[in-house]
């Protein structure tokens, strides 16, 4: 068994070595493929929102469930709130939520083509420690969004959103549980 793991590791390393020569975009593809490979992921999150018109950041905590059906965002403190971004595109909010829903769906489904329609994706690092920098491609998105940074390793661990106004949203996720 150990041998197997070991040989797999070497194999992976070799593959990674070969892939390093390939286009950097491949990292984004492999990250997306990895995130999409988990059937259901549960995690805890801490979110910090910094808004210029508020005197202090708003910190919230809660739990989330990523599944093929979409993302459920369940806030526990300081107020209870639930929001679902479903994979079939149904969302009850306006353009911003629809855009967020598309982003989430694309991540859940590993569909980078969908993401690349709206964003230029700049990957950094390797599959064990990666970040994807998303820059809006269209003027419509750029009207309210400056950029999104996604980061992680085995899982998506960090989301950093910078709005056009300069307001920021920082999300950190931990304690991942993968269930088949």
């Amino acid at each position: 068994m150990n041998d197997f793991v070991l040989s797999t590791k070497y194999l992976l390393a070799a593959l990674l070595f070969i892939c390093a020569a390939a286009r950097a975009d491949d990292l984004a593809d492999r990250v997306a493929a990895r995130l999409a490979s988990y059937p259901v992921v549960r995690a805890e999150f801490v979110q910090e929102r910094t808004v210029a018109s508020l005197t202090k950041p708003v910190v919230s905590t809660g739990r989330l469930v990523f599944s093929r059906e979409g993302l459920t965002w369940q806030v526990e403190t300081p107020v209870k709130a639930v929001m679902t971004f479903s994979a079939d595109g149904a969302s009850d909010g306006g353009a911003a939520q629809a855009e967020m829903g598309r982003l989430v769906r694309a991540l859940v489904a590993g569909d980078l083509r969908e993401l690349r329609q709206s964003f230029d994706i700049e990957p950094r690092g390797d599959l064990e420690r990666w970040t994807l920098q998303l820059k809006p491609r269209t003027l419509e998105l750029a009207q309210y969004l400056r950029g999104i940074a996604l980061g992680g390793g085995q899982h998506l661990e960090a989301i950093d959103v910078v709005e056009a106004s300069g307001d920021r949203l920082k999300v950190r996720m931990k304690n991942f549980v993968v269930t088949p």
């Binding site: 965002w73 806030v75 329609q117 959103v161």
Partner: protein
């Protein structure tokens, strides 16, 4: 009056008519291709009819293109080149490929001052419930992973009421998204970009159609020259109308040329000379000339369908000449024009009388198009009849050089043999067997009154339109609600009640979505109630509000500004303000301020009966369904056309009784049996029973009975008469029967009814003769 004077008079009349016709045609042929224009007004309510026309104008003038390419850059480039090329032609009032970026300040400018009276149903319920807390509502805006402020700065909308209201009234635009000002949708491997245009003129105007189709072709060519992989889809009434016009022209040419060539060939075979053919065509042409003139004088415009029927008129008009030529052939050396006319006049007159009677009955139908056809035929056939009696003899002074017996003997022998078969010993048994075989056919006849019978839809265009609809969500059906009231407020209130029920349907999946003014401008009473609710639950205790907002992190100044904003926002939003904003542009046609009334359009209806049922108990709301009304009308005519057919048969019988007394029923026997056989054929072939098939049978009755009359009157020269009947039948089959190939289902039905009916009538004509 001598033969020559009469002929000269006829020629003079023809010259005058031709001059008048040319005078009309020089001003351009007012050809009407909108088949729905054949129909009478369907709505009992004149305002509904007016709104239908206005909406049809607004929708009919729209053209939609989708330019596609595998990559975004070339797709945009192709769309720009296409739109630019189209713009330069000036055929469209406006062409838009690039829509500019949405000015985010526009909604804020129109709605934000009134925002405290604008609530979604969910927020209204939340505020009214006991669980509402200012702190939680404000925090929920901040803890969800969404951009905080897209509609208004956070401090002006800390609870998100306005943001959610604005989002709730954003139309779901299918899969289209704005990308750098282009409305684009990803569709498989291709990126499709929307190009919208607005027609400058009537979509049914031939010149408008031709210019646009040519310009679109040129624009497509230059687009593909620049981006070879690019593709174009198109949708719009104007393209359907243009292809329908082209198809009708093809029908007309096919029927015109096919009938002319076929008739020429038959005449040549029978008479060994084309002279009768040319004179026959002269008589038919004179008929068409007078028919067209009558229609131009009475109606001012020519229906496309009248023209198609007009081409077929050649067939029936030529019948009359054929009878005269057959008499000429049969008379041999003893022919004089006067004697020839005397020989054919009785039969011809009875035949024309029955035909005119049938057409006159058709003219009574209140379909503008059908009564036009009837006028055309009445005047045209009468003119042809007079030409045969007064003009043609002048060209037939010389007797035939052929031996009458040799020329017509074959027809006489054929008639005798066929008559013997029809009157044979086993004929009654065969008749019973045939009737028995017909019964299942009659029983399987089923009615169809669908309005689509009137429309020939190009399958490729229909496919492109369906694809565009799926991508854009631009799938407005023909049905809409008309909401009326005493004033603006009442219209909006009634509409809001309707919209509430429509939302329930949308939730249940019976409807995709709707468009209504009250979604954009809620009734004043609703706005005042909502503002009062906000005043009580949010601003009721200003001190608590300020404290809670401060705890979350709102600076004291911004919270105070919010309170001031609320205090100064007492005026509700009005329709007038909405109409003044550029935001209302795509929906302005929904508001009819002069009545006052509004239109609620329905998109993606999946359950028509559910939509129809929801008006119960709503005042001032009418479901307007033009297509449904037209179908109902067609059904009504179908139902009344059957008794009409019986009345027509009775009328023909009456004419026959006047001349033939007790023999009259026997003369009608062939055509009646032929009609029954035709009905069975419709049943067996799965053709529906429509008002158009019955119309075809009505004409079959008028024409078919002629053959029996000709034969009965012409027994003295049996061979010539039999030949005339066979020739007449064949020419009529060629002329009318070719309609069975038409692309328009209605014409096809008409053609099939005549094809089967006339064929049967010709074959069964000997039944009209007494047993030999």
């Amino acid at each position: 009056m001598s033969l020559k004077t009469r002929a000269a008079l006829v020629l003079l009349a023809v010259a005058l008519a031709a001059a008048a016709c040319i005078a009309y045609l020089v001003r351009g042929v007012p050809l009407q291709t909108n088949l729905l224009a054949m129909l009478p007004p369907t709505e009992r309510d004149p305002i509904a009819e007016q709104v239908v026309a206005k909406l049809a104008g607004a929708v009919g003038g729209r053209v939609v293109f989708m330019v596609s390419h595998e990559r975004a850059g070339p797709a945009r480039h192709a769309a720009e080149i296409f739109a630019g090329s189209l713009q330069r032609t000036g055929d469209l009032r406006a062409v838009m490929a690039h829509f500019g970026t949405v000015d985010l300040s526009l909604p804020a400018r129109l709605y934000a001052p009134h925002r405290f009276g604008l609530l979604t149903d969910e927020d209204r319920a939340g505020l009214a419930g006991s669980g509402f807390s200012v702190r939680d509502a404000a925090l929920r805006q901040l803890v969800l992973p969404l951009p905080a402020a897209t509609a208004l700065p956070l401090a002006q909308d800390p609870f998100g009421f306005y943001r959610r209201w604005l989002a709730s009234r954003e139309p779901a635009a299918g899969r289209l998204r704005l990308e750098d000002g282009y409305l684009a949708a990803r569709d498989g491997d291709r990126l499709r970009i929307l190009v919208l245009g607005e027609l400058d003129g009537d979509a049914y105007d031939e010149r408008v159609q031709q210019q646009l189709v040519a310009s679109v072709e040129r624009a497509t060519a230059s687009m593909q020259a620049a981006e070879p992989q690019s593709e174009l889809w198109r949708a719009g009434t104007v393209f359907y109308a243009a292809t329908a016009r082209a198809a009708a022209k093809r029908d007309m040419e096919r029927i015109g040329i096919g009938a002319t060539l076929g008739v020429a060939l038959l005449v040549l075979v029978a008479f060994r000379t084309l002279r009768p053919m040319l004179l026959g065509l002269l008589s038919a042409a004179i008929g068409i000339l007078f028919g067209t003139l009558a229609v131009l004088v009475v109606d001012g415009e020519v229906q496309l369908v009248s023209l198609a029927f007009g081409a077929s008129l050649i067939g029936e008009a030529v019948d009359y000449s054929i009878l005269l030529f057959a008499a000429h052939l049969a008379a041999g050396a003893v022919w004089t024009p006067e004697r020839g006319v005397a020989a054919v006049r009785p039969g011809l007159t009875v035949a024309v009388a029955t035909s005119l009677l049938a057409y006159a009955l058709l003219a009574l139908l209140p379909f503008p198009g059908i009564s036009q056809i009837a006028r055309f035929a009445l005047v045209g056939l009468a003119a042809s009849y007079l030409t045969v009696l007064w003009l043609l003899p002048a060209f037939m002074q010389r007797p035939s050089a052929r031996n009458p017996e040799m020329a017509t003997g074959w027809a006489a022998r054929l008639l005798d043999r066929w008559t013997a078969v029809l009157h044979g010993r086993y004929a009654p048994i065969a008749a019973i067997a045939i009737v028995a075989a017909c019964v299942p056919g009659w029983l399987s006849l089923h009615p169809n009154d669908d309005v689509r019978l009137l429309i020939s839809r190009d399958p490729q265009l229909a496919q492109q339109e369906a694809a565009i609809r799926a991508l854009t969500g631009l799938d407005a059906g023909g049905r809409f609600f008309l909401v009326r009231g005493a004033d603006e407020e009442q219209v909006l209130q009634r509409e809001a009640l309707l919209v509430g029920r429509l939302r329930a349907l949308e939730h249940a999946g019976a409807l995709a979505r709707h468009q209504a003014v009250s979604d954009q401008v809620p009734p004043r009473s609703r706005q005042e109630e909502d503002r009062a609710l906000v005043a009580k639950r949010v601003f009721g205790e200003p001190k608590t509000l300020l404290r809670e907002l401060a705890q979350i992190g709102f600076p004291a100044a911004s919270a105070k500004t919010l309170l001031q904003d609320f205090d100064s926002s007492r005026e509700p939003l009005t329709v007038a303000a909405w109409l003044d904003s550029p935001l209302s542009t795509p929906m302005r046609h929904l508001w009819l301020s002069e009545l006052p009334a509004s239109v609620v359009t329905l998109h993606g209806e999946r359950d028509a009966s559910a939509t129809a049922a929801i008006t119960a108990g709503l005042d001032g709301v009418t479901l307007v369904d033009k297509a449904g009304s037209v179908s109902a009308l067609l059904g009504w005519y179908r139902a009344s056309a059957l008794p009409g057919l019986l009345i027509a048969a009775a009328a023909v019988l009456l004419v026959l009784v006047l001349r033939y007394r007790r023999e009259a029923p026997r003369l009608m026997l062939p055509v009646i049996v032929a009609l029954l056989l035709s009905a069975a054929i419709f049943g067996y072939s799965g053709q529906p029973l429509t008002v158009f098939a019955i119309g075809g049978w009505l004409l079959t009755l008028g024409i078919g009975v002629n053959y029996a009359i000709f034969l009965r009157e012409g027994m003295a020269r049996r061979g010539a008469t039999a030949m005339a009947v066979m020739l007449s039948g064949s020419t009529t089959l060629l002329a009318w029967g070719l309609l069975a190939l038409s692309g328009v289902p209605a014409l096809r039905q008409f053609g099939l009814a005549l094809l089967s009916g006339i064929a049967g009538a010709v074959l069964l004509t000997p039944l009209a003769l007494r047993r030999p």
